[in-house]
Amino acid sequence: MSGMKTLSYRAALREALIEELERDPRVFVMGQDAGPFGGVFGVTKGLTEMFGADRVFDTPISEALIVGGGVGAALAGARPVVELQYADFALIAMDEIVNKAAKWRYMHGGGQSVPLVIRAPEGVVGGLGPEHSQSLAQYFWSSFGLKVAMPATPADAKGMLKSAIRDDDPVLFLENKSLYNRRGPVPEGEHLVPLGVASTWRRGGDVTVVAWSRMATVAAQAAETLAGAGIECEIIDPRGISPFDLDTILESVDRTGRLAVVHEGPVTGGLAGELIAQVVERRFAALKAAPVRIAGADTYVPQNQDLEGLLTPDIEAVSAAITALAQAGR
């Protein structure tokens, strides 16, 4: 067992890119300002210098070309890692993501791989407004040929990005902007985290709390407070939405009978609704109370950062909702 080191989420992602660029000559990185500038969030800093401008380079402001070009390069046998400057820009490239990356294998019979990674920074933070701050994983749960990864820790950021680059299917890799500076332990040496395997952050028998990305960190903090009040939460980070590790959640609900689901994106049409439906269909009898959605407000993200802070649940809101759930029901 090798040791651990401490890295920021940003540095962990960068290390994953470096290791995979070194390991596999088919890998290349492109995106707006992803070249010598190093990306607006600094994830690709120094990589053009290290690997040359034919491996890590800038693109025009052309999202359809960035994603569709990545699909084409993957079809030709390369392993592209493309960067959308903000996850919101995925909406500009929806045909390329949903109709091409996700469907190409299926509609051509099943034998054609599209080994593409689309890195996209998401999250309600920084005063960037309604078109640069969304958490929009919810748009992709029915894009069945597309994997969607959402790492919450530096170790997962590194291990999941490496797995995504080695995966034969397209992966939408949603990095949370508010986590880039977050530091945490990352295993030394080769570190791979499989896609689609949930991570149980904390064991507890009273309430199952499923939370993604930044909200997993918020839920974990709430759980510490709640433990003092005698409520033991089981915190599960699904690490993404496709593939989805429903079994880990069902096994937990079997024990707790109570389910809260926490995410940044809007509550309506959100991840929580779909997950709760899947659990209720299978575990209605085990539930002691109605499952709870703790999610983003049904509105758009203002640039005013005081207002922006009201969009997503904070520790207090999460704690209050879980407390009510723990006391509810039969």
Binding site: L65, G69, A76, K100, Y106, M107, H108, G109, G110, D169
Partner: protein, 326 residues
């Protein structure tokens, strides 16, 4: 570029006959109820797929258009898997998913697939050229598309990047003057799509799309440029659509005279005349036609005997098989 050899021209004639026979077979199968699909006929545009593919190597990558039977056959695909697709049988290239618009892939033939959304292929073909460059090989990426799709933003995004990066790419615009029902002049601000290449610093050429030698010559030149690292080319082939956008299209937007006039410039007859002018006897062409007709009948019988997929087929192939992942 050197002119096409007699052998090349005879092969073109064979592929054209094969494409026509295949299309007739599909129409027959629709008529008798064996096949349920919206065929997008390529009748009238056979010189393009054959001319393009005559200038390509097997490993050159082709993103073909929705009007694509000649293109697929010219790149080397057998009629059998295509018939399997039209009939929705497991012997099809998609193992039973069916086809009105063909979505077949065969890497050994450089057949890369087709975008269902019109204009989806521009960015893919540019990306494939980028991928070939990354892998250090000298494959050229080719995309055939209709003039109507050149009004998509993807055309412009990909044209800019391909020219900027000097990608090994050739675009062939099949300008048949009609975007489904809308005339070119009613949908596009300029007469020649080729004019747009200049805006991106990309060379272009306009050719007679009914003349396979003209298409071949332009593509061969463009492929040589691309392979030499000198970047992409846009070729516009002025062509004619003999039938509706899809089978059953009432074509209310088009006069009978217009259709009849188009059919005067049949690319198959033009090739036959070229061969005759080279002293190749008509009975040789007749023999090719008979061989192809017999082979097509055998392929149809075989395709009709193939099983239909079971209901499990709708869920297969969404993701890579687990053992090949990672």
């Amino acid at each position: 570029m050197p002119p096409m050899t007699d052998e090349q021209l005879l092969h073109v004639y064979r592929i054209m006959e094969r494409a026509i026979l295949l299309e007739q077979a599909v129409l027959r199968l629709i008529e008798d109820g064996s096949a349920r699909l919206l065929l997008h006929s390529g009748r009238g545009q056979e010189a393009i797929g054959t001319g393009v593919c005559a200038a390509l190597r097997d490993d050159d990558m082709l993103f073909y258009s929705h009007r694509g039977l000649t293109q697929l056959l010219a790149k080397g695909m057998a009629p059998g898997p295509l018939l399997g697709d039209f009939l929705g049988r497991t012997s099809g290239a998609t193992r039973g998913l069916g086809a009105g618009i063909v979505h077949a892939v065969d890497h050994s033939l450089g057949l890369m697939g087709s975008s269902g959304t019109l204009g989806g292929g521009f960015v893919l073909s540019a990306g494939a050229a980028l991928g070939a460059r990354r892998l250090g090989d000298d494959r050229v990426s080719v995309h055939i598309f209709g003039e109507g799709s050149a009004n998509r933003g993807t055309f412009h995004e990909a044209a800019n990047a391909a020219a900027l990066w000097k990608l090994p790419m050739v675009w062939l615009c099949e300008n048949n003057g009609l975007s489904v029902s809308v005339a070119h002049r009613d949908a596009t601000s300029i007469e020649d799509v080729a004019d747009r290449a200049g805006a991106y610093g990309m060379p272009s050429r306009i050719v007679d799309g009914q003349d396979v030698e003209a298409v071949y010559d332009a593509v061969a030149e463009a492929v040589a440029r691309a392979r030499a690292g000198d970047g992409p080319t846009l070729i516009e082939a002025k062509t004619l659509r003999f039938r509706g956008h899809y089978e059953g299209d009432p074509q209310t937007y088009r006069s009978k005279e217009d259709i009849a006039a188009a059919q005067q410039r049949d690319p198959v007859r033009i090739v036959a005349e070229k061969l005759a002018a080279r002293g190749i006897a008509g009975d040789r062409l007749g023999a090719i036609r008979n061989e192809e007709a017999a082979a097509m009948e055998a392929a149809i019988t075989q395709a009709l005997a193939a099983p239909k997929p079971g209901p499990e087929r709708i869920h297969e192939g969404l993701l890579a098989p687990r053992e090949t992942a990672a």
